[in-house]
């Protein structure tokens, strides 16, 4: 069966090609959009008082004297050599900045995702148990609140109550100052670094600082996941095999856990994947309120500064996350659903 060996390879190659094309298009569009920005990057870099000579030289140094397609070609050429350029807003190589900010966001978003996945699916199941019942109503209000309360407001209230008043949680930032500037946080993953450091209290302190931003970020995602899980379960509940199961005497618990969940897991998995991807790029407000040095804040600062190299670098990282998460989800859904094989 030659196709049996060839097919996965062809599929893999096709997948990689799609991925690379997607990323290239993403970069091209981002580049074109950032060149339309009404902010003059040279002026941003030099300030308002600079002389005409410095201004002209800065435009040349930033390559702004060339038309944007030519600038993009130059950027793409450097990118192929692994050079993401230097950020005009931090003064550091973009690759170094990203190595620092991405783990912060990845850690936050991943834990928030795990929390919202667990709670969201559970609440969705509870809600679908007896649609229209009291429990369903309560869960729907909770999920609506989670996805409609502004994240910065929820974040500030959480900080005020659990950090400033009750002292239950750590404050803004990733660690207390006693740890933050004495430990070697070289991987960028604060849980991993504090665990490896062996310093007493550091690992627990990292969790104390993660708790609030994780919960605030998860509150939004829980709303999404709950509502989608509920809708998927109820959509499936009207099908004939469910009626048959019910006729054979199966209770709602058995029907949901043994029939509906396995049959909707592809859909739920897709929702979870999309939510995860949005958490990775959409944590700007939570990162701002909690002084979390993540990729969302990095990108926002770069956008306000028309810092093209940083915008493209961060977009590329987020784009890669989307592509990888989507790819993995597709593969997982395929593996779980025999109809798609």
């Amino acid at each position: 069966m030659s196709s049996g060996y060839g097919l996965p390879l062809v599929a893999l190659a096709r997948g990689l090609l799609t991925m690379l094309t997607t990323l290239a298009c993403l970069l091209l569009v981002t580049f074109a959009l950032s060149s339309l920005s009404p902010i003059d990057p040279a002026l941003r870099a030099l300030g308002d008082h600079a002389s005409a000579g410095s201004y002209a030289e800065m435009r040349h140094r930033l390559g702004l004297d060339a038309p944007w397609p030519q600038r993009f070609a130059r950027y793409a050429g450097r990118l192929l050599h692994g050079d993401l350029g230097v950020s005009e807003s931090t003064g550091q190589p973009v690759a170094d900045d990203l190595r620092h900010v991405f783990p912060a966001t990845f850690e936050l978003a991943t834990i928030a995702m795990l929390v919202s996945c667990a709670l969201g699916v559970a609440l969705g199941v509870l809600s679908a148990w007896r649609p229209g019942g009291l429990l369903d109503g309560v869960v729907r209000i909770i999920s609506l609140a989670g996805s409609s309360l502004p994240a910065f407001w929820l974040g500030l209230v959480a900080l005020y109550v659990f950090y400033a008043r009750l002292h239950w949680a750590g404050g803004p930032g990733r660690l207390d100052d006693a740890y933050e500037y004495t430990l070697d946080l070289d991987s960028g993953f604060v849980l991993l670094d504090t665990w490896r450091s062996g310093v007493p209290g550091a690992f627990a302190n990292a969790w104390a600082h993660l708790a609030l931003p994780v919960l605030v970020l998860a509150a939004y995602a829980i709303g999404q996941v709950t509502r989608m899980t509920r809708a998927a379960l109820l959509g499936e509940a009207g099908k004939e095999y469910v009626t048959l199961a019910r006729a054979k005497g199966a209770g709602p618990g058995r029907i949901i856990l043994h029939h509906l969940l396995p049959n909707t897991r592809g859909l739920i998995l897709t929702v979870l994947a999309l939510t995860y991807a949005s958490l990775l790029e959409g944590a700007v407000l939570v990162e701002t309120v909690f002084a979390w040095p993540g990729v969302g804040r990095y990108l926002t600062t770069a956008l306000f500064a028309a810092d093209t190299a940083a915008i493209l670098g961060a977009t590329l990282v987020i784009g890669c996350c989307f592509v990888v998460i989507n790819g993995l989800t597709d593969a997982l859904v395929r593996a779980l659903d025999p109809r798609l094989r």
Partner: protein, 527 residues
């Protein structure tokens, strides 16, 4: 098992087990919560943002520096004495005996020559300050010379008197760096720029221990600083972009100082007995500018509009009620505290007077003017107040809030109609501001007066003459006259002088800020 619920006990267990946070900053360490997102570079030849120039004051020294308590007096710093050459176009400096950099390297004339020459040749944002001396990449080396092991001569061609030259040398860009240390870290032709962006090589009271871009800056005491060791061992400046979060940090005690808070937050914290609010007048002035070159609105060129506008700002209402202490009413371009500052405030809100001025000039009611403002506090509030007061004279202001970068791009291209802006002097001397507001040489130099399209050959000459005046009293009189002309007859309506309010914990002593943007001093702080 891939059931999602299996992760729940792990996560919840860890959160519950987490220790509660300590609610106080570590002893011997001062924690400052402020916004650091503006910081691009910690190389004194390059950094020109508030956060970077304030760091330079604490990490580097210049030959001479303003006295923190009386900034009009210059203090010998890395130079113990100086003398102007008879022609008034050169200064000889004697370097302070025994001065050393934080690295342990002694200060040499070569360090002075290298620092200034490097700043000019690197040609980054703040270089225009040194360019005022006529120094450029091609000629700077001819103007800087080592006389002997303790003396250095700095000469210049530009029409600048020795007093102004000394003021220019107090700017952060004229910081003296440890040439040997920097050159040891140079890569290719970068003159150590990549390294200096996040490290220090100075002689100031502190040195940079660690800089995490847009996250935190950690400074350690420099025990051998020529001006004496600072009182605290470590300063941590944390980037907390959200003002409400900064407020929480200082209230809880995890930060000792919170900067850049809004009037509401300051008022709320004022009731906390553990905190005190310090207020420092700043040299920043806020002004309204009409762009007389805008072809779409002829009224902008009419001096009657400028005159009427002076009577259409609710100065006291904005300063006292809207911004509650963040601004003082001030109507001249030199901030109070500068030698020669004009402190008279002849204008107040008088809509009837404004209406009669407009009517006499034939400017009919129903005039529309687009006003660009930065979309950050407090400019939105100020713009709303202007809208209301200008409406009383029949002028409709169409307010366009936008990003600072966008607004500056427009102003530089002279495409706006009117704009509300702020101005911060680049060094402690009247010339820094006068040469912007009262000089339009029409030679390609894009001063503030050029941006407004204000044609002033006579006033430009007076401003140039004041720059070469050697007698301080006569110079102050020159600037008083120049300010009066700008106050009464220009397309600028200068309205306010800013006041920086800082909330500190009660146990923190010795925090000081001066008038100029870079004048933030950490060396005398104790807690």
């Amino acid at each position: 098992m891939n059931h999602p619920l299996s992760f729940l006990p792990l996560v919840l267990g860890a959160v519950v087990a987490a220790a509660p946070a300590e609610a106080s900053s570590p002893p011997g360490v001062l924690v400052i919560a402020q916004a650091l997102d503006d910081l691009v570079s910690l190389d004194p030849a390059e950094g020109f943002e508030l956060s970077s120039v304030q760091t330079f004051t604490n990490v580097y020294q210049r030959l001479v520096q303003p006295d923190p308590d009386h900034p009009a007096n210059l203090l010998p710093t890395l130079a113990s004495r100086w003398q102007a050459e008879p022609g008034g176009r050169a200064l000889d400096f004697e370097l302070t005996a025994g001065a050393r950099f934080a690295s342990g390297n002694p200060l040499r004339p070569e360090d002075v020559v290298y620092s200034l020459s490097r700043a000019v040749k690197l040609n980054r944002a703040p270089v225009f300050i040194l360019n005022e001396l006529g120094w450029n990449a091609g000629n700077v080396d001819q103007h800087l010379s080592k006389l002997d092991d303790r003396h250095v001569r700095l000469a210049w061609d530009a029409p600048v008197g020795p007093a102004l030259a000394l003021s220019i040398l107090t700017a952060p860009v004229a910081s003296i760096i440890d040439a040997r240390e920097v050159l040891a870290h140079a890569v290719g032709e970068d003159a150590g720029n990549a390294w200096l962006r996040s490290h220090s090589a100075g002689s100031g009271p502190f040195k940079i221990r660690r800089y995490m871009p847009h996250e935190a800056l950690v400074l350690d005491a420099n025990a051998t600083a020529p001006g004496g060791a600072p009182r605290l061992q470590t300063i941590v400046i944390k980037n907390v972009a959200d003002a409400a979060t900064r407020r929480l940090l200082v209230a809880v005690g995890d930060a000792d100082i919170a900067r850049d808070l809004g009037p509401d937050q300051i008022a709320a914290l004022g009731r906390d007995p553990q905190l005190q609010t310090l207020a420092f007048p700043s040299a920043m002035i806020d002004y309204l500018m009409f762009n007389t070159t805008n072809p779409d609105n002829a009224a902008l060129r009419n001096p009657a509009l400028w005159e009427a506008a002076r009577w259409l700002i609710d100065y006291d209402g904005i300063a006292a009620k809207l911004l509650r202490g963040e601004y003082l009413v001030h109507q001249a371009f030199l901030a109070a505290g500068f030698p020669g500052a004009l402190t008279a405030t002849p204008y107040h809100l008088d809509a009837a007077k404004a209406r009669s001025i407009l009517a006499a000039a034939g400017l009919a009611p129903g005039l529309h003017i687009t006003l660009d403002v930065i979309n950050q506090p407090p400019y939105g509030d100020i713009a709303q107040s202007l809208q209301a007061s200008f409406a009383q004279a029949g002028i409709t202001l169409d307010v366009v809030p936008e990003l600072a970068g966008e607004l500056y791009t427009k102003v530089r291209a002279r495409s706006e109609q009117a704009v509300w802006l702020y101005w911060v002097p680049d060094y402690f001397d009247a010339n820094s501001t006068a040469s912007a507001f009262a000089a339009n040489r029409e030679d390609g130099t894009k001063t503030v007066a050029w941006r407004a399209g204000w044609r002033i050959p006579g006033l430009s000459a007076a401003t140039a003459a004041a720059a070469t005046e050697t007698d301080p009293a006569a110079r102050a009189l020159d600037y008083l006259a120049i300010q009066r002309e700008v106050q009464q007859n220009s397309p600028f309506v200068i309205a306010f002088q800013a006041r920086n309010e800082v909330v500190v914990r009660k146990n923190v002593r010795g925090y000081r800020e001066g008038l100029d943007a870079d004048m933030v001093y950490y060396d005398r702080i104790s807690k």
